[in-house]
Subunit: 225 residues, 2 copies
């Protein structure tokens, strides 16, 4: 079945099943519900964007936002690698590290994680309304409520910013949770086993010293966590 | 100057300056000291490995370890995309998110981060001693001391594991720290500005319920942070 066939037969609530989104190992970690994809993407802060530049892979960390089944990325209009992704296949990966899984055997060590991998051609947005909405979505993805609070982009700033859109039609989600999966014969080993949990946490907001003292830390900053 | 020329003229303590490691924007974020590369890599837990598969980019989160100027990655010998990177150009990116930088203007919002990007051909290791050392390095990178504490790999487990090595000869490091850089005319805006710090933190170790009660949480787990 071709990728196009697979995509056209996808149920709206399920993820596509194309050759590159079908897991061949650790199938138990695969999620096929579109809601899982949204959850992993919405909980992330940055993605890693993969492009092919001069025939070689290039992986760049970058901010993003999601509008329904479209992912938006932004970059400087002077960023050649970013803008050259227009019309090209890209891969966007979002990874959450939830813990280090320590097994009795070195071999069965693992990581608890949630990851989403999105494939497809990226498209430079040209419609000014779409670009404006995309920048609002990316900004509010990092800090909900920030777009309305900050000074919004000027025409010059809009021109200096490029927006790529990427459909979520072809994506896979992998999630590993829980304790190590040791071999039965290793369970008697005299080795501690378990999980070292990991989480990305926000600290106390640090106010720019140049902010006038009468301006308080706003709720959208104070409540971000 | 060709990439080969650039690499051969690199001082041992400085990073190479090749076309793809030379920053064209935000040059103030570039670090050229090799010690900065080591620091960013050694502080990371996972990397994002970029390969070209069937002409399209593929970005996979994976564990890694560093031995002097060599990066090691491991994967299942059954992982086609991983093993097919042998002899091919890859890109390995390690990113630390240190904070969200909230400016008065949407445009000047940014992220405090440390990132390393390594380019080059990956090589599947075949020497069994090198493979063994690489797995020790990757394991102890995630949890120092874990290799010696756990049951070490069997011959069968070694055969099921592939190791890729990647030279650190061609790499770039970018670091952004500090407060937002707003336009002078925005400083009077009635907008809070500052940094929302971020850090990846370890939680309290969770012991596998199947561990015998007389086995305590070892120091290498208790002290990991």
């Amino acid at each position: 079945m071709s990728t196009a066939d697979s995509l056209s037969q996808t149920s709206p609530s399920l993820l596509s099943s194309t050759p590159r989104t079908t897991l061949r190992r650790h199938k138990e970690r695969a999620r096929t519900d579109r809601a899982d994809l949204y959850a992993v993407l919405d909980a992330g802060l940055i993605c890693h964007l993969g492009v092919v530049a001069d025939g070689a892979p290039l992986v760049l960390p970058t901010a993003y936002g999601r509008d329904d089944d479209t992912l938006y990325l932004h970059g400087s209009s002077a960023n050649g690698a970013f803008c050259s992704a227009n019309g090209q296949q890209v891969c966007v990966t979002v990874t959450h590290m939830d813990g280090i899984v320590c097994a009795r055997s070195v071999f069965n060590h693992s990581v608890n994680y949630r990851s989403a991998v999105v494939f497809g051609p990226a498209t430079l947005a040209h419609d000014e309304d779409e670009r404006w909405q995309a920048l609002r979505i990316i900004t509010d993805h990092l800090v909900p409520g920030r777009w309305a609070a900050a000074r919004q982009p000027s025409r010059k700033e809009m021109a200096a910013t490029s927006v790529l859109s990427l459909s979520l039609a072809e994506a896979s989600v992998k999630i590993r949770t829980g304790m190590p999966a040791d071999e039965p014969e290793d369970l008697d080993e005299n080795v501690w086993a378990g999980v070292l949990p990991l989480s990305l946490v926000f600290g106390t907001p640090q106010t720019d010293p140049a902010v006038r003292p009468e301006i308080p830390v706003p709720a959208h900053i104070r409540d971000r966590h």
